[in-house]
């Protein structure tokens, strides 16, 4: 049994490691293409960044071109680009001049805080509602969560955020509309993201609860005389858990995308907000750093989901 678990563990970690590598390569390639695509002469822009636009001339640009090897063929530059990334150098922000690593470090805490608050809210709302809907399909909780999930599909995060902002902040004046550092600033962004995820969570929980409760083994457990509570505890919980965790892992993509949108909407100083700013100013090293970080965060969360699934069900997922 232990060997089996270890084998499963190695497989999960190996697969996710390869995925992280492929996604890093992908981001690096896209960002390299992005640099090549930027209008204007790269050497001239870097020289201007160093000496100021008033002091730059063709000779200075040529010196930079020689120094950085910008005249090399594209594939050599690409190899150099990847090598830098492989050594863990993310470069400097073109806007602030600070190291990208420091900038991101500065933003990461705010993002994690927002993500944790939203996930807690989504689980707090979604788990009980989903359980109630699954145990009594067609009841009020079931209809409510179905309606809620459909409404949320038609109300994208930024619209939900906008409505909450107009309602709770502009009309009622209960919470500050945007910003960071004061009391209650976390409320609106976390509410937007958490409410958005709760509908989905509730439906996922509902479907897996229903599937387990209607299964033969669960009915047999009740028939042989277990109380509903015993049957749920012994036969329901684990089987529900594994489906819920597996589905929730896939849907974490909504969390990452939501973080980007909601942070920009409420001026929450996290990685997503920094990314949108970097895109606006075409700050390529920052774009690459933020995208890599968010992608790795997603892979990491997925790894944790896989491990959790493995812990709940040591047999591991069925082979595809």
């Amino acid at each position: 049994m232990a060997a089996l678990t270890q084998h499963g563990l190695a497989r999960v970690l190996g697969q996710r490691l390869i995925q992280a590598l492929v996604v890093s390569l992908l981001v690096a390639t896209l960002c390299f293409v992005l640099v090549q695509q930027l209008p204007g002469d790269m050497a001239f822009r870097i020289a201007a960044g160093r000496y100021g636009y008033d002091y730059v001339d063709a000779a200075a640009a040529e010196a930079v071109r020689q120094e950085l090897g910008l005249a090399r063929p594209a594939w050599q530059q690409f190899a150099g680009w990847l090598q830098q990334l492989g050594q863990g150098q993310l470069g400097q922000s073109l806007v602030t001049g600070g190291a990208v690593l420091d900038e991101i470090n500065h933003h990461l805490g705010a993002t994690l805080q927002l993500a944790a608050a939203s996930v807690a809210l989504a689980l707090g709302l979604g788990l009980p509602l989903g359980l109630a809907s699954g145990l009594r399909p067609g009841g009020w909780a079931d209809r409510l969560t179905l309606l809620w999930s459909v409404v949320l599909r038609t109300l994208p995060p930024f619209l939900l955020g906008l409505m909450l902002m107009l309602g709770l902040s502009v009309q009622l004046g209960w919470v500050p509309a945007a910003g960071h550092g004061e009391d209650g600033n976390l409320l609106l962004p976390a509410l937007t993201l958490g409410l958005g995820l709760s509908g989905l969570t509730a439906r996922i929980v509902r479907d897996s609860v229903l599937a387990v409760v209607q299964s033969d083994y669960y009915r047999f457990a009740l028939t042989k005389g277990l109380s509903p509570w015993q049957a749920f505890w012994r036969h329901g919980l684990r089987n529900i858990g594994v489906t819920v965790v597996a589905y929730a892992g896939v849907q974490l993509i909504l969390l990452i995308e939501g973080v980007v949108v909601v942070e920009s909407l409420f001026a929450w100083p996290g990685v997503g907000h920094a990314l949108v700013h970097a895109v606006f100013w075409r700050d390529v090293p920052m774009i690459q750093g933020c995208t890599l970080l968010l992608a790795w965060l997603f892979v990491l969360l997925n790894t944790l989901t896989d491990l959790l699934c493995l812990a709940i069900d040591p047999r591991g997922p069925a082979e595809p």
């Binding site: 492929v22 896209l30 992005l34 999930s149 968010l294």
Partner: protein, 265 residues
């Protein structure tokens, strides 16, 4: 009519909404032609018979802008979904058919793209040419093809391993026949369902980018961009914000309700 009557209520509603939105996208720009023409004398003019939604902060016709933005969103989304579905399903069938190295490589690429949330891909592309229609289209299509690839590959593998296909092969039918008679009938309903979902995702991404200011740039009429631009005038003329919000919500509602409700998550 009989077909419509057989549908559940929510899908009838969906078709009705979709028809309304399409009408706005097709007939709107024809009735209110110029979304960019300013008339500063009519700054924030109230709704009238000729201008049912009034004019905006620059005296532009709100009706013309909403109609043109709807046409743009639907057009871009349709284009993205078509390209993504075509690329994804072709590669999916190829992967299932060839197996071996082709399959391994394609699956590796797909896993990588899958680990990159779609919005991030679109953001990188939108940095390449800010406000460029073509780059946004490329980004959205590249973010979406993986879904079609995965689903098509999984379904095709089952179909290709089935006894019917084996029988067809033994009878000497070529790949064209197998795709036409065995794969396509199995795949097409799934692809249609995914396309309605993909349309919604693309429309949503486009308006989100416009809203946070890194999508299409002014003076383009785009739903998300219109909301941001009109927000400072919300207290005077809430209709400027509410009109694009309503169109966006109704379009997304139509696309969501089009699918069976059990699939709606």
């Amino acid at each position: 009519m009989t077909y419509l009557a057989l549908l559940p209520w929510h899908r009838r509603l969906a078709w009705l909404l979709l028809a309304l939105v399409l009408l706005l996208a097709i007939a709107g720009p024809w009735l209110w032609p110029d979304p960019a023409r300013q008339d500063l004398m009519q700054f924030l003019a109230s709704p009238s018979l000729a201008e049912p939604l009034g004019r905006d902060q620059l005296g532009r016709s709100v009706m013309a802008r909403v109609a043109s933005a709807t046409r743009l969103s639907l057009g871009l989304a349709a284009l993205c979904v078509l390209s993504a579905a075509l690329l994804g399903s072709l590669l999916g069938v190829l992967s299932a058919w060839r197996g071996g190295l082709t399959d391994t490589v394609l699956r590796g690429v797909a896993d990588g793209v899958l680990a990159l949330p779609g919005l991030l891909i679109v953001l990188i592309f939108s940095a390449m040419a800010k406000g460029g229609f073509l780059t946004l289209y490329l980004g959205l299509a590249l973010a979406q093809w993986v879904e079609y690839f995965r689903m098509t590959r999984a379904r095709s593998r089952l179909v290709l391993a089935s006894p019917h296909v084996e029988a067809s092969r033994l009878l000497g039918f070529g790949p064209g026949y197998i795709v036409r008679r065995h794969l396509w009938p199995e795949l097409s309903p799934m692809l249609l369902t995914m396309a309605s979902f993909g349309m919604a995702t693309a429309i949503l991404a486009l308006s989100t980018l416009g809203y946070v200011g890194v999508g299409l740039q002014p003076p383009a009429a785009e739903l998300g961009l219109m909301m941001t631009e009109a927000l400072p005038h919300y207290s005077e003329a809430p209709r400027l914000v509410l009109a694009p919000v309503a169109v966006l919500a109704l379009t997304l509602a139509a696309l969501v309700l089009l699918r069976p409700l059990e699939v709606t998550r």
